[in-house]
């Protein structure tokens, strides 16, 4: 089973839930798909055994073959190619690597070369298989790195995916084809607004989901009311405590210091299994 942990709003506790759920289960993989700002490794402290660069194909012009016809510019949907005075100019940061320009060039003057945009690191800690991706500084496109992380999903294990915040392409790439989504929120107007956006996303993707309310003792009751009205199950509540905030701040896990939480995360997992088997 593949469970993704998402939120809409940042900083609501996705990583906390993903890490502590992973630490409570056996035969588990944790895949951090927040490749812009991966944090799970801070808490798991895995020993990395492998590091694989992630490339995207970027076209390069062979000036000897190019006659400046401009066909490549015509077919490029991303304005990543300009042609001036029969000279072709390529803007790699706009290129999505679709391969169209190379295919349609009548003179065979474009060749794709690999450009590194990030890295996937694979490691292990106490039986947890750990994988994360890191987008290189200054690179725009997270989805290819996320796809590279997800290639490591093993169907023989429970895979837990730490999803980036937001509602756009990186989030979709991360939660697509997963079996269940946990949406972590906080009971504030910001948390609720972003939760409702995230709910729209998972509904659009038709993935079963439930909500965890983090820092449930700070804030108001509107998130509860929203969930009741929308018929969304609240899977777990984590009250605000300075102790938890402090454990988090130094990069430790809740289940290690507050063992009663291991029970809670196990119950959460059982509940998810029940929902997905319906």
């Amino acid at each position: 089973m593949i469970i993704s942990v998402a939120s809409g709003k940042g900083g609501t506790g996705k990583t906390t839930v993903a890490v502590n759920l992973a630490l409570s289960l056996n035969n588990v993989q944790l895949l951090d798909c927040d490749v812009e700002e991966p944090n799970s490794h801070i808490f798991i402290k895995p020993l990395f055994e492998r590091s694989d660069p992630v490339f995207i194909p970027i076209p390069v012009v062979d000036k000897k073959k190019c006659d400046g016809c401009g066909r490549c510019k015509e077919v490029c949907a991303y304005n990543a190619i300009a042609v001036t005075n029969k000279k072709v100019l390529i803007f790699p940061e706009l290129c999505h690597g679709c391969g169209s320009c190379e295919y349609f060039c009548p003179n065979d003057a474009l060749k794709e070369e690999e450009e590194e945009i990030g890295v996937v690191e694979i490691g292990e800690k106490d039986g947890i298989e750990f994988v994360h991706g890191k987008l290189n500084i200054g690179k725009m496109m997270a989805p290819p790195v996320i796809r590279a992380v997800k290639k490591h999903i093993s169907r023989k294990k429970t895979a837990i995916i730490d999803v980036p915040p937001g509602t756009s392409c990186p989030v979709i790439t991360a939660i697509k084809d997963t079996d269940f989504v946990i949406l972590v929120t906080e009971p504030t107007p910001f948390g609720l607004n972003d939760l409702s956006l995230a709910v729209e996303v998972v509904r659009k993707l038709k993935i079963p989901f439930g909500v965890i309310i983090n820092r449930s003792s700070l804030g108001d009751k509107k998130t509860d009311k929203y969930c009741a009205k929308e018929n969304i199950s609240i899977l777990m509540r984590i009250p605000f405590s300075k102790k938890i905030a402090e454990i988090y701040s130094r990069g430790d896990s809740i289940v290690e210091y507050l063992p009663e939480y291991k029970e809670k995360f196990l119950r959460l997992f059982k509940e998810i299994k029940k929902i997905t088997s319906r």
Binding site: G8, K9, G10, G11, T12, T15, E36, E37, N39, I42, V75, A77, Y78, H96, G97, C98, G99, S100, Y103, F104, L135, I137, G138, K139, M140, M141, A142, P164, P165, G166, T167, S168, C169, P170, V171, I172, K176, T188, P189, F190, N193, D194, L197, E200, V201, K204, L205, L218, G219, D220, K242, A245, E246, Y248, S249, R250, G251
Partner: protein
């Protein structure tokens, strides 16, 4: 006119609360919410929307079954796994490159323009606001961010305002790069957690990669004094100016629930730090 963007790398460190505070503290400014994925600043500003526009960007492929002969060229050329077994297109996976449409020998695939969001110009009690809502599961958030910034700048120029205050988004990728390009100062909000520091480090590397002036604020600094100290030392080592430190306060959560900026809601240590921070920033960017 000067543009200031508030970013953090990590989400939930207090960007929007600080942007809201600046909105209340600063006169003659336009406010731009560039977290187009999950915009929240409007919840504090109660905007009266004056203009609402549709944002069209990018294309999605559609197969016309009538003309499709099932040759499969589309699925051979598509690199985004968007062509399903029956040769219809999964709109969520489609990146709109049009490769399939151009390569189809039967001309059976049409590219349709996406409506990928909306953007708004509003009046608020604290001044004009430009914000946006990216459609669910849509792409091109970077383009929408650039559009929001462009409109905010136009209003500021038109009214001869001195400042554009930009609320940024978490992360370091496309929307963040679009929100920092060419600004006069990026303010990075760091919380004293190892994750907060790790993420701030990466986003500061991005600002430096693009040669953007950058300064930092340590928010909720009393949640972990050791890490706050670490952030201070680290900032010094990297020649980063700390504009100020703000204590953790439940009053902040209450102000958000009341739909007010913290400056309007109360007067305490938090608001004093924020006005000192703005004073400092104003002094350094003026001139």
């Amino acid at each position: 006119m000067k543009e200031i963007v508030i970013i953090s790398g990590k989400g939930g460190t207090g960007k929007t609360v600080i942007a809201g505070a600046f909105a209340a503290l600063v006169k003659n400014k336009v406010i731009a919410d560039c977290d187009v994925d999950a915009a929240d600043l409007h919840l504090l500003l109660d905007p009266k929307i004056e203009e609402s526009h549709i944002f069209k960007s990018g294309f999605t492929a559609f197969t016309n079954k009538k003309y499709c002969n099932g040759c499969g060229t589309c699925s051979t050329v598509c690199r985004f796994d968007a062509v399903k077994e029956d040769f219809s297109i999964d709109p969520i996976s489609c990146e709109g490159c049009a490769f399939c449409s151009l390569a189809c020998p039967e001309d059976a695939i049409e590219m349709k323009l996406n409506i990928s969001g909306k953007w708004f110009i509003s009046q608020t009690r604290l001044g004009p606001l430009v914000h946006a809502k990216l459609g669910i599961a849509e792409e091109n958030s970077g383009k929408l961010v650039s559009l929001v910034r462009k409109k905010a700048k136009e209003i500021a120029e038109d009214k001869k305002y001195k400042w554009v205050i930009i609320d940024g988004s978490p992360g370091i990728g496309c929307p963040v790069i679009a929100s920092i390009t060419g600004v006069d100062c990026a303010v990075v909000v760091i919380e004293p957690t190892l994750s907060g520091l790790h993420d701030a480090e990466r986003v500061i590397d991005v600002t430096r990669h693009f040669n953007i002036p950058v300064k930092v604020i340590i928010n909720k600094y009393d949640l972990n004094y050791d890490i706050t100290k670490k952030i201070e030392n680290w900032s010094e080592g990297r020649n980063l100016q700390i504009l100020g430190k703000i204590v953790f306060s439940k009053e902040v959560v209450k102000s958000v629930i009341e739909g007010k900026t913290i400056i309007e809601y109360s007067s305490n240590k938090v608001t004093r730090s924020l006005s000192d921070i703005w004073g400092q920033l104003e002094k350094e960017l003026a001139g």
